[in-house]
Structures are given as C-alpha cells and as structure tokens.
C-alpha cells in the first residue's frame, strides 16, 4: 500500500526528481519558478542545486553530467528569457542524443496567451529540438508527466524532453504517492534474426571490411561488445567524432575518426572498404562528404535503434533495428573469426605526415598533455582545438571525450566540463578550449570557482576564429572577414585573476612541461593559456561535399 499525501505541485516536482534518483539539478531562479525553488529550500531532500551564470551553460552542464554519468541530466529555468536561453543547450542535446529533462517555468494559466511578462510559447519553440515536450495544465497530470518525461528521455534513442509548468501548477495541491521509475527498453525492437544472419553472411564474405561506430555505441553501453566483435572478426574500426572512445585508440584496430578532418588512413579505409558496418552512427554530412563517392562499391550494414536513421542519408543493404547491446552479441555469435592481414597492412600504408616532436604546435601540446593526463575526461569547445583533440588524443575509455558534435556549439565546453566534474569528482577533467569559444561563455568561471571544481582549462589562444579562418584561407583567398580576435584582445590571465582562478602562461614546450608538473596534483581550477600561431590549421581536411579521399594537406 502506497502512502498518499496531499502536496503542492512544487513539492511534487522535487519528489518526482527523488524518485528518479536525481543527484544534481542545474537550475537558475526567476519569477515563475520561485515556488519550485522554495520547495527545494524547504524540503529535506538529497538533490543539490547547481546555479550557473546563464541558463545555456546550465543545460550544457546537465548534458556533460548526463554523458559521463549515464543518467538523465536535469535543468530548471524560469519562463521567458530563462527558457529561451536554454534553447541552444536543448538543441545541442537533441543533435547529440543526450537524455535531458528540462523544466521551464511558465506564467500562470490565466495569463497564458496574453503576451504576459516573461511569457514565451516554450513548447512551440522547443518542438523541433526536443524528443518530446509537455505543458502541464492539470495538477493531477504533473507527476505522471514527469515520470513519462524521464522514460522518454532515456528510452530508445535518447534525447531532451521539456516540461513547461505554469506557476499556478506549482502552487496547486493534489494527492501524491511515490512510484518507481517507469521501465525502460521494453519498447525497443528485438534484433531481426534474418537481418542479423544476412549481415553475418556479408561480413564473412568481406575482404576489406570496416566498422563505422558512432555515438550510439557509447549510449547503448556496447563499447566492450564492439571491441570483442571487431577483434573476433578482425575488422578495423573508424569512429564518428561522437563515437571516439568506444575502442581504445591504442588498440591496433582503431583508426580514429572519419570524415572532414579524419586521418588519411581512416578516410581511405572507409572509402575503399568493400563492407561497411555502421553501428549507432548517422552518416552525417561531416562524415560522408560526397555521399555517392562514400557509398560506391560497398555493401553497407546498418545497426541503429532509431528506425528513421535507415534510408535517411544512405540506403543500406541490410539494416538491423535494435538496441546495439542486443544486436551485437547475436551478430558476434555467428560471424566467423577472421584477421584480414592484407587489408590491415594496406591501411597502415596510408599514415599521417608527422611533425617534429620538438616543435611547439597543437599536436605536441596535446601529446604532452595527454601523457600527463592519460585517464582524464577531455571536454572541448568547438573549432580547431576540438578537431585536434579528436585527431591526436589516445582515448582509453567510453565517454572520455565530451564534445558538441551535431550542433557544433561554441561555448559548450565550460558548462559541460562543470557537469562532467560533478559527475566524476575523483577524476581529472580537462577543458581544451579555443579563445573564440571561450569568450562566449567564460562567465561560468564564476561557477567553477564557486563550487571549487578542479577543472584544468587549456586555452589555445591564437587570437582568431581559427576554423573559419582556415576556410577563408583555403577557399576565400585569405579574406579574413571578422575572424581576427586581436582587435579587442583579451588578457586571459588577468581575466582568470578576476575570477580568482590560478593561471599559467605557456609559450613553448618547456613552459608547458613545467606547468603540467605544477598543476598535476592541484585540487583547484586552473587556467593554462597556450599561445599558438594563427597559421596552425587542422589537416588533413576534406572540403565540404567532396569525396573523403580528396584529402588536403597544408
């Protein structure tokens, strides 16, 4: 017999979060959520509120938290501008399929639709960037809707869910009885046996197979299974950017990431393979380049839990619609052990040009950093530095690389790093940032300091929006429109000072090594500014829309 009691809506929200085992909420107060914050204040609960400086970063933090904890990230904003500030964060989670539940306050129901103070139509605004959204208009629906929101966010292909709650719902009362979280996964389709059998036949016949593994592998928790499968069938693994970490980079079968900035060996392996096994990957334009060239002369097997991924960007020869964690063991059982030595030897003939190990350049900076922080989570902003990390980091474990893939959100990293550090308090968390992205949201240094999160920020300062500049250099005849940040240059060391954050300046590899040895054991946030040349580019590069074997070098 469940004990029922009469509670206010605001209290029901808190109790429902407790039901779900929520540890942290990333919340920013405002008029329409005052009753909810009051409930958090009054109630004896185990949920910690983390207050960002800006709602966007609160949602990024919730996403960082969700990505490395495997739980649902929770954000709370007020109505109107609070909700619109959250939009970029929600869109980011939507494109990277991260499970979030975002609560937005709303004006009271009597004021809805009257252009009231801080009123925006949140469900309409977030409709195309959420997995689903709700507005609560009946207090008795509050608890069931929140439970359903958590179920939807996590089930199948995960994604963000918005729950818009008018202020009067927080104040209304109804009966509440505790419930267990709704069961997940029961709605996932089972792997289709005949499709699995056909996939295995293609794989067994393949002479030049490649696995193309995306973020879905990490989300499904199937990384270990993927490595077993790749090793049994002797198939090299190319990752999408989001899939990095599902196989250790030091595994001989790992090729790194494929696409616009993929390595030569990885891109050539993917384009020249005869059988491509896509697992939890969505054939984004940044991966495929010219789609016809990408698909040419190969059989494609596609495994995904989301049926809309089939025949969306490419047509596969076989598709298996199921949770990867269910499909891979079935496939693994029936594929024949193989090694493909000639094919793998051929791939190794296509390596990346090396640079001198003494040179002060992004690759060597990251390598030194990597050697110091082998087991750290690596969060990035968006741009050149993000690609460099993707190219050079020796990823060891799933979820290690936290980056904005689909939306490419400059300003994502600092917020995300906050969430990652909260989820993994015992682990080292690095934020590798570019100065362009960092300028967008550096106000969150306040939050980093306030909660004393020992995030190590490595700031690549080249005084330019490097990735755009690189395109301008290659395709716009060096007309550097609006990409020079030195007009209005920021002294990032003084900036760190203002936030009471310890900082270091690095201008060569000696500086770097000394700094790294000093900060290694510091349990406090640190900013390391690495001045780099604005002429450093991300290479190799495939121009947008070109076949991915048309590789440019500097």
């Amino acid at each position: 017999m469940i004990n029922k009691q009469i509670l206010r809506g605001s209290e029901i929200v808190v109790r429902c979060l407790q039901e779900q085992g929520v540890e942290y909420v990333f919340s920013y107060p405002g008029g329409s959520v005052i009753p909810l914050f009051d409930a958090f204040y009054r109630m004896d609960h185990a949920i910690t509120q983390i207050e960002p400086c800006h709602e966007q970063n609160g949602i990024h933090a919730a996403e960082g938290y969700a990505r490395v904890s495997g739980k649902v990230g929770v954000g709370i904003t007020t109505s109107g501008p609070g909700a619109t500030n959250a939009v970029t964060g929600i869109a980011n989670a939507h494109l990277d399929s991260t499970p979030l539940v975002v609560f937005t306050g709303q004006v009271t129901q009597q004021l809805l639709g009257k252009d009231s103070f801080q009123e925006v139509d949140v469900t309409s605004i977030t409709l195309p960037i959420t997995k689903h959204n709700f507005i609560i208009k009946d207090i008795t629906m509050l608890a069931p809707t929140i439970r359903e929101a958590f179920r939807i966010a996590q089930s199948g292909r995960p994604g963000p869910v918005v729950v818009d709650i008018p202020k009067d719902i927080f104040l209304a009362q109804t009966e509440y009885g505790e419930e267990k979280p709704y069961a997940l996964g029961t709605s996932n389709p089972r792997p289709q046996r005949d499709a699995v059998t056909r996939a295995a036949e293609y794989i067994n016949m393949a002479k030049r197979p490649v696995i193309y593994a995306g973020g879905g592998v990490l989300k499904s928790g199937a990384s270990k299974m993927l490595v077993e499968f790749a090793e049994k069938a002797g198939i090299p693994v190319a990752n999408s950017l989001m899939g990095l970490g599902c196989i250790p980079r030091d595994n001989p079968l790992s090729l790194g990431f494929v696409g616009m900035h993929g390595s030569q060996e990885c891109n050539l392996a993917v384009i020249n393979c005869d059988t491509l096994i896509a697992i939890g990957a969505r054939f984004s334009d940044r991966v495929t380049g010219n789609i016809n060239a990408f698909m040419r002369d190969k059989k494609i097997i596609q495994i995904d839990v989301d049926p809309t991924e089939f025949e969306k960007n490419i047509e596969a020869n076989v598709h298996i619609c199921a949770d990867i964690l269910d499909a891979l063991p079935m496939l693994n059982k029936i594929v024949k052990p193989a090694t493909h030595p000639e094919w793998i030897a051929k791939i190794k003939e296509w390596p990346l040009p090396e640079r001198s190990k003494d040179e002060y350049c992004p690759k060597n900076i990251l390598t030194h950093l990597n050697n110091t922080y082998k087991d750290a989570y690596v969060v990035t902003e968006v741009g050149q530095h993000q690609m460099w990390v993707g190219q050079y980091w020796r990823f060891k474990f799933p979820g290690q690389y936290v980056t904005s893939g689909g939306l490419g959100t400059m300003g994502f990293g600092l917020g995300a790093a906050i969430g990652v550090q909260l989820a993994k308090p015992e682990k080292d968390v690095l934020l590798v940032a570019g100065d362009g992205s960092f300028r967008m949201n550096f106000q969150e240094l306040t939050t980093v300091k306030r909660y004393n999160l020992p995030i190590k920020i490595i700031l690549f300062d080249n005084g330019t929006l490097g990735m755009v500049r690189q395109w301008q250099k290659l395709f716009n005849d060096r007309r550097y429109a609006q990409t020079d940040l030195n007009e209005g240059a920021v002294d990032y060391l003084k900036l760190a000072d203002a936030f009471h954050i310890r900082h270091y300046n690095v201008e060569n590899l000696n500086d770097l090594d000394q700094t790294l040895s000093e900060i290694k054991n510091l349990k406090e946030p640190v900013l390391v500014r690495c001045a780099i040349s604005n002429e450093e580019g991300v290479y190799p590069m495939v121009p947008a829309g070109k076949p991915i074997d048309e590789i440019y070098y500097e």
Binding site: P128, H132, D306, P307, T308, E311, K312
Partner: protein, 164 residues
Amino acid sequence: MERHCLSLLVENNFGVLARISGLFARRGYNIDSLTVGTTQDDNFSRITMTVTADEQTLEQIKKQLNKLINVIKVIELKQGEAIRRELVFIKVKANDQTRSRVVEISNLFRASVVDVAKESLVLEITGTLSKVDAFLNMIEPYGIIEFVRSGVTGLQRGKHQIGC
C-alpha cells in the same frame, strides 16, 4: 512521384497537429490534403493525409510520424484495400439558359444541388479524387466561381481496423 494516402491514429491532445505539420515543414515533405476528426474513443483523433512522395520518402514520412510520441499508429490507405472519399462544394455560374445543363451533369455524377441563386448554384459531390476531378472538368466550362475540397478521408475495407 505518386500520391499516397495515410491514416493516423493520434492522441487527442492539443499540439498534435502542430507536431505533425511542423515535421512536414521541417523535413520538406509535401502535404496535399489533411483532415482531422474525432473517433469512437474520446482519447484519440484520426488524421487522414495525402502526400506526394517517392517510395523512399514515403517510408521516411511513415517512420518519422511513428516516432512522434502522440502518434499511435500510421497505416497507408491503399487503393482497392480502402475506401477513400472527398467532399467538395462547387459554386458555379448558372442562369436560366445554363442551369438545367449543370443540373443534368450533376445528376450524372450523383452530385446534389445544395443552394440555388439567380446567377449561381452550389453543388455538393462526394467521391474519389478521380471522380471529383472528372466532375470539375465537366463543370468548368460553365464558370466555376469558387470551390472548396475537404481533403480525402478513408477507412480500410473488411475486417481491417487501425486499432490501438
């Protein structure tokens, strides 16, 4: 590209139509017609839509619709397996000289005259798209002032039902 007729069972919530029309707008699918109505169960509505799409796009449309949380079921109403009809009102010019001829054509098509005025008639016809098109074609020379089409609606024949 062919025209296809889809029938959807959806939750009877506000906003469902916005989700569906938003999906079509966002992904660039074409809706030719759309009708919405209640069902025997207050919790559900039924939407019938016709779309022009190739097979691959049609499959994507069905899968994307199925992915919407409020959409319970999507079926295709195929010719032969389903009854598909559309209601059309046509206001056509008709004076003393032409009225009887217009009425004669209407009778041939089993259309009915629902309004009579000095210079015009309003005709009502229910039928398949091809029947309606043929009728409009016959009436057109008399001078169509305006017409309005309800959009196609339909039901599967025999023992099949959309169910939930």
